[in-house]
């Protein structure tokens, strides 16, 4: 069963002659244990797709189900709670609060969501894996773009979400780091049974994906499905 199911979603922005059709009848399912990669050029609607998937934006048309329940039947507050508990967002920019150290970014989550976050040991392991364990007392402005991005990934994983929605998570990373992050996402899907959805134009991530989609001018088409033995 899908964690996230996007059904016949159409999204328009603007009105009158300025009306643009950004997503065309998009259908998509994110299953636990699967890494889905959505590849598309700039302006193709990737971020719009993620906003709708995360329940931040209600699509003009169509339905989005999380764990079988439509966002339409969920209150704003409940969707907010869902994002706190079950959805890990990795955003394209501004991921980290500038006045919190890396350690405090996690502490903030503890303040708001008291239960079921990663244990200190699990967090440590995750930071090690991402190669940022030594940066724990640094502020975001003391980190490189790639380091910030990895902290943001750790921050999104910290509440132990069911699904991970990542917007260009590898934009600032070199090929070696892309491998590390790709492996991490793959492992999250395969060994921890998370549904991982990545939207990107970075084709270097293709080798880690179980399902690859292409988003072009708002139309989503399935490219291939790897079969795992």
């Amino acid at each position: 069963m899908s964690v996230l199911s996007i059904q016949h979603v159409n999204q328009f922005f603007g009105s009158g002659t300025a009306r643009v059709h950004v997503l065309h009848d998009v259908n998509f399912d994110a299953k636990p244990g699967t890494l889905s990669l959505i590849i598309g050029p700039s302006g193709s609607g990737k971020s719009t797709f993620l906003t709708i998937a995360g329940g931040l934006l209600t699509p003009t048309d169509g339905d989005v189900l999380f764990d079988g329940q439509s966002y339409k039947d969920t209150s704003k507050k409940a969707r907010e709670q869902l994002r706190l508990d079950s959805i890990g967002f990795i955003l394209q920019a501004y991921h980290l609060l500038p006045y919190l150290t890396v350690a405090d970014q996690f502490k903030l989550v503890d303040k708001v969501k008291k239960l079921h976050n990663l244990t200190p040991m699990e967090l440590n392991e995750l930071l090690n894996q991402l190669g940022i364990q030594d940066l724990i007392n640094k502020f975001p402005n003391e980190l490189s773009g790639g380091q910030q991005q990895r902290v943001a990934i750790a921050r999104a994983l910290y509440p132990d979400p069911k699904i991970l929605l990542a917007d260009e998570p590898t934009a600032a990373l070199d090929t070696a780091r892309v491998k590390v992050v790709g492996n991490l996402f793959q492992e999250l899907a395969h060994t921890r049974n998370k549904a991982v959805v990545i939207v990107t134009h970075d084709i270097r991530l293709k080798e880690f994906a179980d399902q690859i989609y292409e988003l072009r001018d708002g139309t989503l088409t399935k490219q291939s499905t790897k079969v795992f033995v």
Binding site: T51, F89, Y94, L108
Partner: protein, 351 residues
């Protein structure tokens, strides 16, 4: 609270600037309040020390004791709750001393007002050449036993006592006997005083030529008193208003810069009440620290200010002013909360 404290710690310079601005504004307001209070008290200190409820003057004196003269038939009989006051404007002069414009108050030593005067040293006048003066005479170099002349009169008056905070119309008071007042004023034998004061709240004159006024009405009619208080009140009010605007603008700018970060937190499902809490507690922490520092500055000022400067540091009044500033800045801090509540998580998605 967590976010607010962390942010203040990281942004030391920015927070320091805002705090020092609040310190300056509130210090200015505290000092102005104390000055206003000090000046107001120099108008009324002597009257306050008498413990009276009302004052009876000539009905045509326009509520001004200096213009009032009462005759014995007008006054009639008095109880022990009433007392005569004879007021005269005088200039005290003595060789080797600067002239001091003063208010002469003649008292009947058997009546309650004379008994109410508290001396720091010496005794009340026993002859009509003896006087008790405000301690500001001491600061001008006069000592117990010194003499001075009043106006063009050639009589030497001897200082037999000092009393603190004896001020009226922003001038020091010289207390003497009622008979001394009569001779200073050069009045006819039928006039006995400038005013009747009473500690009986129900006392009313029975004479049509006289009128009894409540003490607050009398004080408000003192020359310059209301204008002075109004001026200071307006200044303090404007400063409060300005501080509201300044604090609001600063907090607004601070918050606006954080909105993209807040949008991310909202997208991550952090409840907006956490963010509103951070904004409000940040304003509170900044304003409170500013107020604490300026209170310390005010205390230091109060200790080191020479007594010639008419300043009165009244703690309850200063607390009220501080709370007023606190409320002003809370209002200022609430304006950006609206923007925090409205922050749209979608705005940060997309890059």
């Amino acid at each position: 609270m967590f976010l607010a404290l962390k942010e203040i710690r990281k942004e030391k310079l920015r927070s320091g600037l805002i705090i020092s601005m609040i310190v300056l504004i509130s210090y200015l307001i505290f000092i102005l309040t104390s000055l206003a209070l000090g000046l107001a008290r120099e108008n009324t200190d002597a009257i306050d020390s008498w413990g009276i409820q009302n004052i009876t003057l000539d009905a045509n004196a326009n509520v001004d004791m200096r213009q009032s003269l009462l005759t014995a038939p007008q006054v009639g009989t008095l109880t022990d709750k009433e007392a005569y006051i004879g007021q005269a404007s005088v200039v005290a002069k003595a060789t080797g001393h600067e002239r001091i414009s003063s208010v002469f108050i003649g008292l009947d030593s058997h009546q309650f007002v004379a008994k109410k005067i508290k001396l720091t040293t010496g005794h009340m006048p026993q002859t009509n050449h003896e006087v008790v003066v405000d301690t500001s005479f001491q600061e001008s170099g006069y000592q117990l036993g010194d003499t001075f002349k009043l106006n063009a009169d050639n009589t030497n008056y001897k200082i037999v006592g000092f009393t603190k905070n004896a001020k009226m119309n922003v001038a020091p008071v010289i207390y003497g006997q009622l008979s001394t007042w009569s001779s200073l004023k050069g009045t006819s034998s039928s006039t006995i005083a400038s005013a009747i004061v009473s500690k009986n709240i129900n006392y009313r004159t029975s004479s049509h030529a006289l009128k009894t006024y409540s003490i607050s009405k009398f004080i408000n009619k003192m020359p310059g008193y209301q204008a002075q208080n109004l001026t200071f009140g307006l200044m303090i009010g404007f400063l409060m208003g300005i501080s509201l605007i300044v604090i609001a603008v600063f907090l607004y700018i601070l918050t606006m810069q954080k909105l993209p970060n807040y949008a991310v937190l909202r997208a991550q499902g952090i409840p907006s009440k956490i963010l509103v809490g951070a904004t409000v507690s940040q304003s509170l922490i900044l304003v409170l620290s500013g107020l604490v520092i300026s209170s310390i500055l005010t205390i230091i000022t109060a200790i080191s200010m020479p007594s010639a400067v008419p300043m009165a540091f009244d703690i309850p009044i200063l607390i009220v002013v501080g709370v007023g500033l606190m409320i002003m800045s809370l209002i200022g801090g609430l304006i950006p909360v609206r923007s925090v509540l409205r922050v749209d998580p979608i705005s940060v998605i997309g890059g």
